[in-house]
């Protein structure tokens, strides 16, 4: 944690300078028509659930994901926050600062940093791809390397199935894998966990959509044993009620 903060700020400074170089960079000098048009976007999903609907134990679960981006067609700066809290205590929380390069019609290459505030103060370098796979699967595949050279991999996919123009079912999947055991995180080498869900949202507008999300999570492999050893559940099913916002 102590070492992580300076590293994080260093990485952020690097990102910022890259961004500045790009903003003033190859454009604008000679030709007045060559200005880069800057756009932006932002969005958030926040939901809550009561564990006792499905589990023997009680507990209030809150999940959040938020992003903001700014940039042009070729390069965007993207900030993402994601986390989970249980009974008011933050279980996991991370912040990602990324540059997105448009490398193909449907794909961005991403690079940047991620900092975990919980469960352990770790800083990671990030490289990955974000885009739309054939058959309309929104996809993120990211590789993380932290200062101890631990390697993590995360894969996420969603798909929109329209019942009507506004009532949309979104199956989603997330998978986390690690190249080694990371005791601070309570994970072991191999596929650590998988989360699958069915989110049903109603788009009052594109920017305002309440949803219900049925989510099944399960720890796998070595991680599952570690979890069991700690006396925690290796699987859980929740129904989450939430709100999806786009700006």
């Amino acid at each position: 944690m102590r070492r992580a903060i300076p590293k994080l700020s260093l990485a952020l400074a690097l990102l910022a300078s890259t961004g500045a170089a790009w903003a003033s960079g190859p454009h604008s000098k000679d030709d007045p028509n060559r200005e880069t048009v800057i756009f932006w976007g932002a969005g958030a999903e926040i939901d809550g659930a009561q564990f006792d609907w499905f589990e023997s134990k009680a507990g209030a679960l809150v999940n959040w994901y938020a992003y903001v981006w700014a940039g042009g067609d070729d390069l965007k700066f993207r900030l993402e926050a994601e986390g989970e809290s249980l009974d008011g205590a933050v279980d996991s929380s991370e912040l990602r600062a990324l540059l997105n390069w448009n490398i193909a019609d449907f794909w961005d290459f991403q690079a940047g940093v991620r900092h975990d505030f919980e469960p352990a103060g770790l800083t990671w370098a990030v490289a990955g791809f974000q885009g739309l796979a054939p058959y309309f699967f929104e996809t993120e595949a990211r590789l993380f390397v932290n200062e101890e050279a631990d390697v993590a991999f995360r894969f996420e996919q969603t798909y929109d199935l329209l019942f009507t123009q506004r009532l949309i079912l979104q199956p989603h999947i997330e998978l986390n894998a690690f190249a080694q055991n990371i005791p601070e995180l309570g994970v072991g080498a191999g596929i650590a966990d998988v989360e699958v869900g069915l989110q049903l949202r109603y788009e009052f507008t594109r920017k305002f959509a309440p949803y219900a999300d049925l989510v099944y999570e399960r720890k796998l492999g070595e991680t599952s044993q570690i979890t069991q050893a700690l006396g925690e559940d290796v699987e859980s099913t929740t129904i989450r009620l939430g709100l999806r916002i786009r700006l």
């Binding site: 060559r34 880069t36 019609d105 019942f163």
Partner: protein
């Protein structure tokens, strides 16, 4: 005393006549932000002289137009005279030919000699101001008598009005190119298609589109519009009066930012006499598709003592514009049921275009002979071969306007110039203009480049060239060249090719036009869908005075 009085009268008449002569063709226009009430509540909008659309400007061929435009906005503005032959610095495109836009608070005076006649229009060429309300009609009466005399003469400006901020629309599209598509295919549509085409075909169709990551319902990038006739919503019902049996000339101008319309007046034959301001041999039709920024003049002769509805349905069928021709005020024509919305087919993707698109998975696009695309061939602007359509079949393909059997829709091939073309030379060279982009990210390109990086099209003064548009996208693009007419290569004799200032290039197809580069200067050349232009689909054509051998 008597003679003095006489003198005085002469002076009086002269004084009356003098300002008239001097002011002939002179207009003062003020661009301002005002509240307008189009949809039932006041909305802040851009206006010209407080109006939306701006006032109709009328000139006489041969006179000098003098137009003072004052910008009362807090941003740069401009007005461009669409389809006019004029010096390039008077064309009103900021950044080209020395014109730098009109700064806030300033007045710019446009001066140019009117060298043509017909129906044209004007609009802002700054940012997305055109969508926000800066457009109007520009009518030029010919020196020679009109070919067709019509006691009633009405301008019909079609437009797409939105309460949304126009810059915000572009930002929304950059976040999600399907943001405004509320006609996407649903689970229900899938089962409907299974019922109609069988499970295999319906599934294959979904897989083909999914493979390309493209959406066959992507007909219009923006929706949420109220469609207007002369600034009036369908409820407010713009009305033009006639006496039964009178000829009525309707000057249709599509001043929309994004919307193509299928236009008809049930019960009346439309005799098309002008396209883009240029006289054509009269073509009797039942309906026509008007691309963004095109104009068509039609003659109708309503015989009955009743109201007739002018119906203009956008191709995504997200509403309609409507007006009425009536023998007296207060009547309202019948509104026919809305026609179905079409669905794009694989051939709207264009087999030729597909090689050019690096959408990864194109390689395994085969088996095109199934369900969705068999009935689409020979796509021509606006028209379908109506005999081929079986009743009850869902409309298929961009060009399918659901024209009922026996009804005739205007095609580009029907247009034949009334006047003889002076330049009938064959082209010395062909310039290919590829229209494409990245729909997922709402980027639009000409020859693979966005406006910022675009390579200008270099033309020698006097040069005769063929421009061949190759549309590699699955959206239609109304391509507009400033400063010069192009001639459609539409099968008419070389001396009767019709002049156009906008050329519709249907999805996945190619279209060629001829042009003579006889107006020196830098001219904007772009897709007239406002947000396509804003997202990069613009370049310039530069006509340079060069040595004589270039011209020959």
């Amino acid at each position: 005393m008597r003679s003095r009085f006489f003198d005085f009268r002469i002076l009086f008449v002269a004084l009356l006549a003098l300002p008239h002569a001097a002011l002939a063709g002179e207009y003062r226009l003020t661009i301002d932000r005002r509240d307008v009430n189009v949809t039932g509540r006041p909305v802040s909008s851009l206006t010209i002289n407080g109006q939306l659309p701006g006032p109709t400007l009328r000139f006489k061929e041969g006179e000098d137009a003098v137009i003072h435009v004052t910008n009362r906005l807090d941003e740069d503005a401009s007005l461009h005279w669409h389809g006019m032959l004029l010096p390039p610095e008077m064309d009103g495109v900021p950044g080209l030919s020395g014109f730098d836009g009109i700064k806030p608070g300033e007045t710019f005076t446009y001066r140019f000699k009117i060298r043509q006649s017909g129906t044209y229009w004007y609009h802002s060429h700054s940012g997305t101001q055109e969508q926000a309300g800066l457009y109007g009609a520009l009518i030029i009466d010919p020196i020679a008598p009109e070919i067709v005399k019509a006691p009633r003469d009405y301008v019909v400006v079609l437009s797409d009005f939105t309460e949304e901020n126009s810059d915000e629309i572009l930002r929304n599209l950059k976040n999600d190119s399907g943001y405004y598509n509320r006609g996407k295919r649903t689970v229900g549509d899938f089962f409907h298609d299974v019922g109609r085409d069988g499970l295999g075909a319906a599934l294959r169709n979904r897989l083909d589109w999914g493979d390309m990551r493209m959406d066959p319902t992507d007909l219009a990038d923006v929706s949420g519009y109220t469609f207007l006739v002369n600034g009036k919503s369908p409820e407010r019902n713009w009305t033009g009066l006639f006496n039964p049996g009178e000829r009525v000339r309707l000057r249709f101008i599509n001043a929309s930012a994004m919307s193509y319309f299928d236009v008809r007046i049930p019960g009346l034959k439309l005799i098309v006499i002008q396209a883009d301001g240029q006289n054509v041999e009269p073509v009797p039709v039942d309906e026509f598709r008007i691309a963004v920024a095109e104009t068509y003049d039609v003659i109708v002769t309503p015989k009955d003592d009743r109201a007739y509805s002018i119906i203009a349905e956008p191709i995504d069928r997200s509403g309609y514009a409507r007006g009425t021709l009536a023998p007296r005020d207060g009547l309202s024509g019948e509104i026919p049921p809305m026609r179905p919305r079409t669905v794009l087919t694989m051939s709207d993707m264009g087999m030729a275009g597909m090689q050019g698109m690096d959408h990864g998975a194109m390689g395994d696009m085969k088996g095109m002979d199934h369900g969705a695309m068999d009935d689409m061939k020979g796509v021509d602007h606006g028209a379908m071969d109506e005999t081929k359509k079986s009743s009850g079949a869902a409309p298929r393909g961009w060009a399918d306007a659901s024209t009922p059997p026996g009804m005739r829709a205007l095609r580009y091939a029907d247009l034949k110039s009334l006047e003889l073309q002076k330049d009938t030379r064959l082209e010395k060279r062909e310039i290919v203009v590829r229209l494409g982009g990245n729909m997922e990210r709402f980027i639009w390109t000409i020859n693979g480049r966005k406006s910022g990086d675009a390579e200008p099209i270099e033309l020698g003064y006097g040069e005769r060239v063929k421009l061949t548009f190759v549309n590699e996208s699955m959206m239609a693009h109304p391509m507009h060249l400033h400063g010069m007419f192009v001639q459609l290569v539409n099968g008419q004799p070389a001396d009767r090719l019709p002049n156009k200032h906008v050329v519709n290039v249907a999805p996945g197809s190619s279209y060629s036009v001829m042009m003579t580069a006889n107006e020196p200067g830098e001219w904007a050349f772009h897709c007239h869908l406002l947000y396509h232009m804003s997202a990069g689909m613009m370049t310039k054509a530069v006509v340079a005075r060069m040595s004589a051998e270039m011209a020959k």
